[in-house]
Symmetry: C2
Subunit: 350 residues, 2 copies
DNA sequence: GCTCCGTGTCGAATCGGTTCGATCCAGACA
DNA sequence: TGTCTGGATCGAACCGATTCGACACGGAGC
């Protein structure tokens, strides 16, 4: 492998001069600079990342902690990851991907060994065990997902409260007075996925304000269980006219369930989901939905993280907690209630 | 940050002794070893990754090149990535994730700068521009996907020829004599996704052997286009009794299409797909399918790569090209033809 | 009593960069 | 003529590990 020493020799200068010629941190004569550049091109020199990291204490690598817990919804996770990865590269950083189950240990490992200049945490729980470790680390961190305590960290998330209110208001405006909300599996909530509560509580609150009956339930993350749950919910609330889905697997399962019951959307049932547009297009879901914008969140997190990395010596800027405002993407799956034939959801064939 | 010098001082030994005590590469007295270990624990010492990489020329990092091209099917990609990442960690390696559009440039960057000990390439095309760069690099590489020229590299892929034959044979055994095969978008083929041809050609060949009429077509990767294509195919081949899908988006769109046409599987139409079990469960697809096992492929690639990294000085083992045998997972979406009512596929409501 | 040997430890070199301080030199200025 | 200034370059130190060669010491063998 060709080193800066080889370049210096080829250009007939010292190693330090070659280094300054390349970095531009000191004035170097035009002539020498060109000789060095020529040598670099001829020899095909690329600085050794480890050596540079050792000398500068900068790795130009960002750690991305993505936990694939049970019931995790993979496609959404992937969109977060791509948002993070693409943005990082634009800003000159590479991504160290960590998918270890024991996120806390992994975080300690990559920060202590100084493999990364900063860290993005996905899937942050209410009381995330990784946070104390991140706060103690010398590198800055950015979160995607709102924990209970945001101190000392930059946090980005969708405004799930507002999402819940928008769903309810939209249905109310159309005339619906009884709705069903299907959330993520209870697992997710227990594990600290606070966003499930945030959406559900806000929806319940808003339903009360609007005078709407709102039935809530957890859905599974897999077929066939989630399909059964949807059937059961429609069975037990026959007068509900609208369905709110904060559960991607339920959204994916719904077309089949509707088919089995012979229901048509929005004539028989109005539906609003909460997932990304990308997801909707790929999986043929034509339900109106709250855009969850995972790529935008990943992008924002990295931007802020890099800003903090690169200004780490200046006086600390204040930490930010930023929410993306939800947007309802209308795909025509909602309408005024009552166009249904018989006033109750068709039974599924047993 | 605490260095090995701090540990050595705390233990009252030299830096080299501390290093040997930790690595065990020379005999060290029990007593000193314990003093060093205590110091490590007390001070919370973790070796600096950059310094270690510089000294040992080993980074313990594997590069993962995942290109997200247009029409790429994200969930499958994610499963590959997880297979690679989890296996790497088990073997002591971290993952540098590269999603840059210009894969060749990215590959050169990470190999030249010696950020990685080896590389896994996903999504390898027939005539992949990254391969010459990988061959010229000092680090070994493993491919997931079969290129035209496998020389000097370890290659892993599903046996798509066999997959095509299995699909056709299964349908033939049930009595089907006219089938439709929907492949990935033409984009993918033009870009060098040879596996599309491999499956299709083998299926055509086998259909000829069995005396089956096989209609082939490219499907899009998105709704609503892919749904329209499915409708058009069913319209123009009304006597076809079975559908083969080498296109995940088509599989995801099919339930809705069937619903719109009032078709039931397998009574009206037999269906076999080609995707992973994980995908099927998450997206509520109850079609029988050829398991594409992305996680297994990722795992195999990393295993082989690590073997090669760690034995790089010994005489080069021969390079391997290994195919996973496809397995048909029966989810009950195939049956003998002819249970259909009217002998043609119902029209969709216009 | 002397050499020989294995065990345990240390000092110094090395990996490949960056960066600080010093030096050299030419031109400006008093 | 001597001093000052600033541009251009070099040498050496440093980042934090690993590793090679040397060496001290105590016991075995002659």
């Amino acid at each position: 492998m060709v080193t800066i020493g080889d370049v210096a020799r080829a250009a007939g200068v010292s190693r330090s001069t070659a280094s300054y010629a390349l970095s531009g941190k000191r004035t170097i004569s035009m002539e020498v600079r060109e000789r060095v550049n020529d040598a670099v091109r001829e020899l095909g020199y690329t600085p050794n990342a480890g050596a540079r990291a050792l000398a500068t204490s900068q790795t130009m690598v960002i750690g991305l902690l993505a936990q694939f817990l049970e019931d995790e919804f993979a496609p959404a996770m992937l969109q977060y990851m791509l948002g993070v990865s693409d943005t990082a590269r634009e800003l000159g950083y590479d991504i160290l991907l960590v998918t270890e189950a024991d996120g806390a240990r992994a975080l300690r490992r990559i920060t202590d060994s100084q493999m990364v200049d900063g860290v993005v945490l996905l899937n942050v729980a209410q009381d995330d065990v990784r946070l104390p470790i991140l706060r103690a680390a010398p590198q800055p961190g950015a979160l995607v997902g709102l924990p209970g305590d945001c101190s000392g960290l930059d946090v980005f998330d969708l405004d799930f409260e507002e999402a819940g209110r928008i769903m309810v208001n939209h249905m109310h405006r159309l005339g619906h007075r009884e709705l069903i909300l299907v959330s993520q599996p209870e697992h997710v909530v227990e594990r600290g996925g606070a966003y499930v509560w945030r959406l559900q509580d806000a929806a319940l609150q808003q339903a009360r304000v609007r005078g709407i009956r709102l039935h809530t339930a957890f859905g599974e993350s897999r077929q066939p269980a989630v399909g059964r749950t949807l059937h059961a919910l429609l069975d037990s609330h026959p007068s509900a006219t609208g369905l709110l889905l904060n559960n991607e697997a339920a959204a994916a399962a719904l077309p089949t369930v509707l088919h089995e019951r012979g229901l048509t959307v929005p004539a028989d049932l109005s539906v609003i989901g909460r997932y990304s547009d990308e997801f909707a297009r790929t999986f043929s879901l034509s339900f109106s939905s709250i855009e969850s914008a995972p790529d935008r969140l990943g992008r924002m997190a990295v931007r802020q993280l890099v800003r903090r990395i690169e200004s780490s010596d200046t006086a600390a800027e204040p930490y930010v907690v930023r929410f993306i405002s939800p947007e309802l993407v209308d795909r025509g799956s909602t309408a005024a209630p009552g166009s249904r034939r018989d006033g109750s959801h068709s039974r599924r064939p047993q």
